[in-house]
């Protein structure tokens, strides 16, 4: 057996089988309780967010029509950036998770939704919902650990290529949607022969079609429509996309890669019980503290822990679930990883910088919090 395994197990070593079972039962019960209470106010919430988002987008795009005037440029770009963030984070990501499928509204449904991102919804749903949420933080299984390009955990073997990762990660942040789109085509799996090149190329074709329309919208159609404001509109759209990219990169990296987020080995999956699954999701995720506006703008991924426990519960409910999950963690002596946006981001970048170099030796998980 792998020598590292005893260390990984130690985070939960103090839990008895009964404890683990009880954790599973409590969380299942919490889930049932929330599911049963879903209703009109939740439906009103998502409808309102969608209306606000579309209103902001229309306002931003209209202002950019006259963006030859600097104040209009600034206001238009800001509106559009916020609209794009809301669209990707609080709406798109969560709708595609099926969080709103219970409403049976075909216009707000995981199987019909398409989002304002280079990656087609279908492809993303597979790589994200199926692979990442099932194999969360399992080395060699969860491709989201470092997005098959970064070393974010000491358990990943070092390679000289990682020396470039601080620079590479900064560039990735600015072009995050493109990084995700290429990543979702899983080229490295085709490279390793785990899937056929034909399949990978078909998927890339899908990306090209989807992304092509996105590019034409932001960089051709709207600038042309703006006439004399062609260039400022184009730059405004580019700035809004970049702002959205950097923001979602930041939020998503804070969710799994700050200090204290656990990674697991593949043998963990053998006969994993419901309780163990919950615990893995808990320990592999990290939250960001903040007010309602921060939660909204992060698409409630500031409640990454709650999101990973209950990926298909509506995001507006995570805030009320969080204290109960935290209390459960306290009772069972499990780490609830949370911190301010600044702290978690600093922690992520510290890791990205440190792990560009070889080492360190993975420490037993119990020592980490010290």
């Amino acid at each position: 057996m792998d020598a590292r395994v005893p260390e990984r197990v130690s985070v939960t070593a103090h839990l008895s089988e009964v404890d683990i079972k009880e954790i599973g039962r409590e969380l299942d019960q919490l889930r049932d309780e929330i599911t049963a209470s879903l209703g009109e106010s939740d439906a009103r919430y998502i409808h309102r967010v969608i209306a606000v988002q579309r209103g902001l987008e229309a306002t931003g795009r209209t202002l950019l029509m006259v963006s030859i005037l600097p104040p209009a440029w600034l206001a238009g770009t800001a509106c559009l950036a916020v609209a794009k963030i809301l669209e990707n984070m609080e709406i798109g990501h969560n709708v595609l998770h099926g969080q709103w499928d219970w409403m049976r509204d075909p216009e707000i449904h995981s199987t019909t939704w398409e989002w304002d991102s280079a990656t087609p919804a279908d492809m993303w749903k597979r790589s994200h919902n199926v692979v990442h949420h099932t194999y969360t933080n399992i080395l060699g299984k969860d491709r989201d650990i470092g997005y098959a390009a970064l070393r974010v955990s000491p358990e990943q073997p070092w390679h000289p290529i990682y020396l470039t990762q601080p620079l590479y990660n900064a560039i990735l942040a600015a072009f995050f949607e493109w990084g995700i789109a290429i990543y979702d085509a899983e080229l490295e799996r085709a490279w390793r022969g785990e899937k056929s090149w034909t399949e990978a190329l078909t998927q890339l074709g899908g990306v090209a079609r989807k992304a092509g329309r996105q590019v034409i919208k932001d960089y051709v159609a709207f600038p042309l429509l703006a006439g004399p404001s062609f260039l400022p509109t184009l730059l405004g759209n580019a700035a809004a996309n970049a702002a959205r990219n950097v923001w979602s990169h930041t939020v998503i990296f804070c969710g799994h890669f700050p200090d204290g987020a656990e990674v697991f080995t593949e043998d963990r999956l053998n006969g994993e019980t419901r309780g163990e699954w919950y615990i893995r999701q808990l320990l592999g995720s990290a939250n960001i503290t903040g007010g309602p506006l921060l939660h909204l703008m992060t698409g409630n991924l500031s409640h990454q822990i709650e999101h990973h426990l209950f990926p298909d519960l509506p995001s507006n409910r995570y805030a009320e679930i969080a204290p109960r999950v935290r209390e459960l963690c306290q009772r069972y002596g499990l780490r609830y990883n949370t911190g301010s946006l600044l702290r978690q981001t600093a922690s992520v970048w510290k890791n990205v910088l440190r792990l560009a170099l070889p080492g360190p030796k993975p420490r037993p998980a119990d020592d980490r919090s010290s």
Binding site: R54, R61, G98, W102, R104, T111, W115, R213
Partner: protein, 380 residues
């Protein structure tokens, strides 16, 4: 907001018309299509309709909607909803029904309702008349909770419970309770043209003041000598039986008959007409499927969407899927329209109407009248 919306609508309408006239060719609709197609380059990945629908829900042709403009009580437990259909409504024939979708506690529910207004209605509105089922979910909500201004979802009118054109010379309508609704549309349509063929209406309701459209039906019978109304008040006189038909309408064999009402009455009528060898003269509209007792259920997997649920042997797969949040196509919800068919990937199902178990891989099944008979996979 709504006023502003209406003004905007008129402005948009005027603009499209101006463009169409300027172009001098093609219909207004075609121009609108082209405009919207061009607009998708600006709204991708959404559609222009997604934005239009936010300003006025009735403008979206992606999803057909209607606005409830009035709720008129008919009896203690029935009401008529006056609905203004939005863009995309293509009209109906008297006797047809439409599916109505309504969000209750945030969840969309679909039910079928006969349109009780005739297509001749001049103001472009349609009506449905709903009787609250005390144990039901949607009908009490429509009768008691819906207020004017509510947006409902609509599907195109369908159904064959209509008169042929021209109508037969002699008609018989056999109705009970809320079964009067499609027939009311038919009678109103005939009355609107001022020509009533020789028609007999045999209608049952518990008591005089519980007859839906009672006053109007009596007035119609008074106005047209060719329309004869036989009202049966079952609380005093008991249920109407086919044996009594001969007395009430001696020439029933020579009439084309349209029947709508409770399952028991319709079963009796079908048997009666079949025995007389006149089954082809009887047209029946059922509001509920007649179902048999089910068997064991099983786990149902929806392969395309990834949803699953454990089903018992009596719940239609349509309901199982809806409860699991799967987008299930549906229509009448009682096995007549085939809107709900889906491909069976594995397992077997039970036809709830006959109790027969069947199912081969790849077979198309009607989810609204099929229940799981063991584990099932459906391509939805």
């Amino acid at each position: 907001m709504r006023k502003g919306g209406a003004r905007l609508a008129r402005a948009a309408e005027a603009l499209t018309r101006a463009v169409a006239e300027a172009a001098g060719s093609g219909s207004r609709l075609a121009v609108r299509r082209h405009l919207l197609d061009a607009m998708t380059w600006l709204t991708t990945p959404l559609l222009p309709d997604d934005y239009l629908g936010l300003i006025n829900p009735l403008w979206s042709s992606r999803e057909l909607r209607g606005r409830v403009e009035a709720v008129q009580p008919e009896t203690a437990d029935a009401a008529t909803l006056v609905i203004r259909p939005g863009r995309g409504w293509e009209g109906h024939r008297a006797g047809q029904y439409a599916r109505i979708g309504i969000d209750i506690h945030g969840v969309r529910h679909w039910r079928s309702y006969s349109l009780s207004s005739p297509p001749e209605r001049a103001d472009g509105r349609v009506t449905i008349t709903v009787k609250a089922d005390p144990h039901g979910l949607v009908s009490p909500y429509l009768v008691r909770r819906v207020t004017p201004g509510t947006i409902v979802h609509l599907a195109a009118a369908q159904g064959e419970f209509t008169l042929p054109e021209p109508p037969p010379d002699r008609l018989l309508f056999l109705t009970a309770g809320s079964g009067i609704t499609p027939v009311a549309a038919t009678l109103r349509g005939l009355a609107a043209h001022g020509r009533m063929p020789d028609a007999v209406l045999v209608h049952s309701a518990p008591a005089s003041d519980e007859v839906i459209f009672g006053t109007e039906l009596r007035a119609l019978a008074a106005r047209f000598a060719s329309l004869r109304l036989y009202e049966r008040h079952t609380r005093i006189d008991g249920r109407f039986t086919m044996a009594q038909l001969r007395r009430v309408c001696p020439d029933w064999r020579r009439r084309h008959t349209w029947a709508c009402g409770p399952a028991g009455m319709l079963d009796d009528a079908e048997r009666h007409w079949r025995r007389a060898g006149l089954a082809d003269r009887l047209h029946v509209e059922r509001f509920r499927p007649t179902v048999t007792v089910g068997g064991i259920g099983g786990r149902v997997r929806f392969t395309a969407s990834g949803g699953w649920a454990d089903a018992d042997g009596v719940t239609p797969l349509l309901v199982v899927g809806e409860n699991a949040g799967v987008l299930m196509p549906s229509g009448c919800r009682m096995g007549i329209c085939y809107s709900c068919v889906a491909r069976l990937r594995a397992g077997r199902v039970r036809d709830l109407r006959t109790g027969r178990e069947y199912g081969d891989e790849g077979q198309l099944i009607q989810t609204c009248v099929s229940a799981a008979a063991g584990p099932v996979e459906i391509d939805l």
